[in-house]
């Protein structure tokens, strides 16, 4: 029990650290202080920082894809579905954190290859989900696509991702949702 507690505590704290300081800037020392075990003991749970980083993304990816699937199955109007997507994307920012993979993408060149691959996969997952929703919405004539579904998916994801960067820099998280809503409304018929 204690094992799981500590391990998940490590993951939780590591995530907030990465999402505020970035992957390069956070250290095992920071982490040990927050969790309350010695620095060396972290290695018992995560042999290297890279392993920790990968576990972080894997967990994030799993949570996200579960939510996406759930949302996908929901019986909802397309634009409402997109807004809900934006909400739980932006929701993580309410506590004043960057989205994990946005934070990771920034010092991407510094990341080990295994992590870079996962980050890429994360974005691809989002894009394929968005594309499917958009295609379905277009088929049902609930939305009107300007360009291809692929391009529109990119537009939606980019906006959400970028809005979180801008919001973070301006120290004003409230800008995200209205911006995204405006974009979705533009797409709605």
């Amino acid at each position: 029990m204690a094992t799981l507690d500590t391990k998940s505590a490590l993951l939780t704290e590591a995530e907030t650290l990465v999402r505020t300081l970035g992957y390069a800037a956070f250290s095992y020392a920071d982490l040990s202080e927050r969790v309350g075990i010695r620095k060396a003991s972290i290695h018992h749970h995560f042999s290297t920082k890279e392993v920790l980083g990968n576990a972080l993304i894997d967990g994030y990816l799993e949570r996200f894809s579960a939510q996406l699937e759930e949302l996908s199955a929901a019986d909802m109007d397309t634009s409402r579905k997109l807004l809900a997507y934006g909400d739980f994307f932006a929701g993580s920012l309410d506590d004043g954190l960057m989205p994990l993979c946005g934070a990771l993408a920034a010092d991407a060149a510094y990341l080990p290859a295994s992590m870079q691959r996962r980050v890429k996969k994360f974005f691809e997952l989002h894009l394929t989900w968005l594309e499917a929703v958009l295609r379905e919405g277009a088929a049902r004539r609930q939305i009107k696509l300007q360009g291809s579904a692929h391009k529109s998916a990119l537009l939606l994801l980019s906006t959400l991702q970028g809005a979180s960067v801008v919001a973070w820099a301006l120290k004003d998280p409230s800008v995200i949702k209205p911006v995204f809503r405006q974009l979705v409304e533009t797409m709605a018929k």
Copy 2:
């Protein structure tokens, strides 16, 4: 002469380092290796890393605001003006780098306060410029604003910023321009 050469070489190399590795992840050692002077000698030109970082943003900001002013004065259709803006924003990404302030915004919490302020100022500069262009375009009836000029400016900047993150993660810089173009076209009457 050699002074200026070395100093500007330091700035140039530091910029590419920040824009690939992030601010936290690059070191004076990396920089000294690239420029070809010893690590300690960098301190002669930039007493601390923070001073270097600030000089970096200041230069970037100066260059950008000059370009913005030039573009502002140009006699152009509004949507063409926006596309040109997008082009020189995306232009810096053709060499496979993140935009400077995007890279900096990511590990913002790690940055010294003086740098955080500059990053914020950078985004504000962009937003006010975009807002002015949008307002003018709306007055001339060259574009049709869905929401407020402020919100639309945020949307444009966010999209550009986010697209560069996504492009960087996917290792495909070609996605940026079409995405931005689609957004601008949506705004065009």
